[in-house]
Amino acid sequence: MNVATPFPQITQAHPAGIPSAEQILELLPRPVLVVGSDGLVTYANTASMTSLAAVVGSEMHDLFPGCALNLATMTGAPSSLLVSRDSENFDAAIAALGAGQFLIDLRPSLHAQCADKPSGLDELTGLTKRNALLAYLSSALCTGPASSVAVHCLDLDRFKMINDTLGHAVGDLLLKKVADRLTAACHKDDIVARIGGDEFVVLQRHVEEEGAAETLASRIVDLIGRTYVIHGHTVNIGVSVGVAIGTNAVQARDLLRNGDLALYEAKKAGRGRYSMFKNGMDALLFARREMEIDLRRALALKQFKLNYQPFINVTSNRVDGFEALLRWEHPVKGNIPPLSFISLAEENGLIVKIGEWVMRTACVEAMSWPGEMIVAVNVSPLQFKADTLLDTVATALKRSGLPAHRLEIEITEGALLDDTDNVIQTLNSLRELGVKISMDDFGTGYSSLSYLQKFPFNKIKIDRSFVASDDADSEAILRSIAGLGASLGMAITAEGVETAEQLSRIRGERCTHVQGYLTGRPMGMDQIPAFLAQNDVE
């Protein structure tokens, strides 16, 4: 073995029968290295050759890729964690030998190893796996300044769709190409890991320079979002990235969690972009998580109930029916308005279950109303996507015995935005059941007239904002929507009518129905008989 820096002690003569220090080192079953301050190995014992493939001239950052080594500061520390190319963990004790040389004694790290051993590298992509990533990250955080480390948490957008439509073989090749592109975008000291089906994490080093993490994140978004060609298919996906930069206070797991929080923000902001972790994101997310847990329980614990707001036929001055409005009576937080939980329920899919409950309950409760009183039920765009809506409605009608023509389903334009053909098909099937369909909140979204042409709605509900303001523009809009609806044979409801003055204005504008505080506030089931009795007298 070529020892570049000889040790005077080692070459000293020894009494016969006692092995030399050099012999002992060579027989020692664990790796021992001597390394210059430039990171070049100047001595490697036999064990380090067998377990690390280290030879004189090897570079430390090749032997322990991704481990930022600062030999001078690590000297004398109890031990530092180093991870080898084979993802083996070592507790390294470092001693200064003088003249810019360091002795590194490597003991296989026992506890971390059992967790790590079965993992190794990701079979498909050859990238680091989760456990090894955590080890790298821990060692990076404790060996260098924490602020020089950033994690980028990635989630591929639309990957599942590609997998489902083009098959797993293409999906797998795509993941390999993504892995290649990530590796190409990163510095060789950085670690790219695959921690789940289409989830990746990049551990970036040397982010001391202002904006270095942002630069890499935006590079990743650009590069991964570029078109792929696989087996003659053109494949387009995107990636959302959450970035968190290390601080002295955080542990590896916390840093990854921060990256995940930022990733969540990036996805919420529309995907195909990156977002940096900021303090406070955790509090926000914690509140959302809590609400999500409560929301999941709410159905089982019967915390939801329905209120009903009447809508009045302006010609007959009679109540035609009630719109069912969802209320959540939280045992601790009191009444939570739908605005604060519907978007969360839509995000996590709970809206489908909640929507089913609303449909069932509204139909049952409406059965107790006199005459031909209609119940109007709101349906979220996500319920259309879930593909169970038709079934839900049919079952609710059958179980309650409510005649179909007494049920009115309210949809918003949002439902028609994507996948319009399928939605129209569902609407047609609902109509065949005999259910009425109305367009809610008209005037707030795209208000595309083509929607009105695509489906013969029974009713258009004009958004309250056009009723509330009495300026000439709102009035003109109200008048023309009402006129348009009338000529298409649709009923028109003016929403949010609060004053007698507004009501008289509406009467002049061909609206057929009004709904608002003036003609009746939302009320509990038990108040309906009294309300109807009083209304009859008037």
């Binding site: 290649d180 592109r181 570029r226 792929y228 060609v229 003659g232 053109t234």
Partner: protein, 145 residues
């Protein structure tokens, strides 16, 4: 993987500094590398530079074309790569060109003038077929010249 012959056409935005010297040397580098790699991979085609854009036709065995395109996608010297066409072909349009470059010589300048190059010819307005046809015609002229 059994691999039929395919033609791939794309255009992209040039990210190289507009300074002539840098640009020239980058293009030289790209072409030199392309010719070596493409010869090895049995890929032929042509590259056009103009108005801040690249347009390129690659033809050859599908797996090789895909691999070359993947390398090209990762290249920081351009961006906004739009894939215009990827179709099976019976024979090559550029059988003799490991990677022809079109964009500087007189004959091309004239040719481009004809399609409004001077007013800012923009490959992004052309379809894959049009770019392919344009590059093929230019290549034929070049060979004849």
């Amino acid at each position: 993987m059994a691999s039929g012959m395919y033609r791939l056409v794309y255009y992209s935005r040039n990210h190289i500094a507009h300074n002539e010297a840098t640009f020239g040397s980058h293009v030289e580098e790209i072409l030199e590398k392309s010719r070596i790699n493409n010869q090895r991979d049995e890929i032929t085609g042509a590259l056009l530079f103009n108005a801040g854009c690249f347009a390129q036709v690659l033809e050859g065995p599908l797996d090789k074309v895909e691999a070359a395109f993947e390398r090209i996608q990762q290249d920081e010297r351009h961006g906004d790569v739009s894939l215009l066409a990827l179709d099976p072909i019976d024979r090559r349009s550029f059988p003799n060109w490991a990677m022809g470059f079109i964009g500087t010589s007189d004959i091309h300048a004239k040719r481009f003038a004809g399609i409004g190059l001077s007013s800012g010819f923009d490959p992004s307005r052309l379809s894959g077929d049009e770019i392919h046809a344009l590059l093929r015609d230019l290549a034929i002229e070049e060979e004849a010249a």
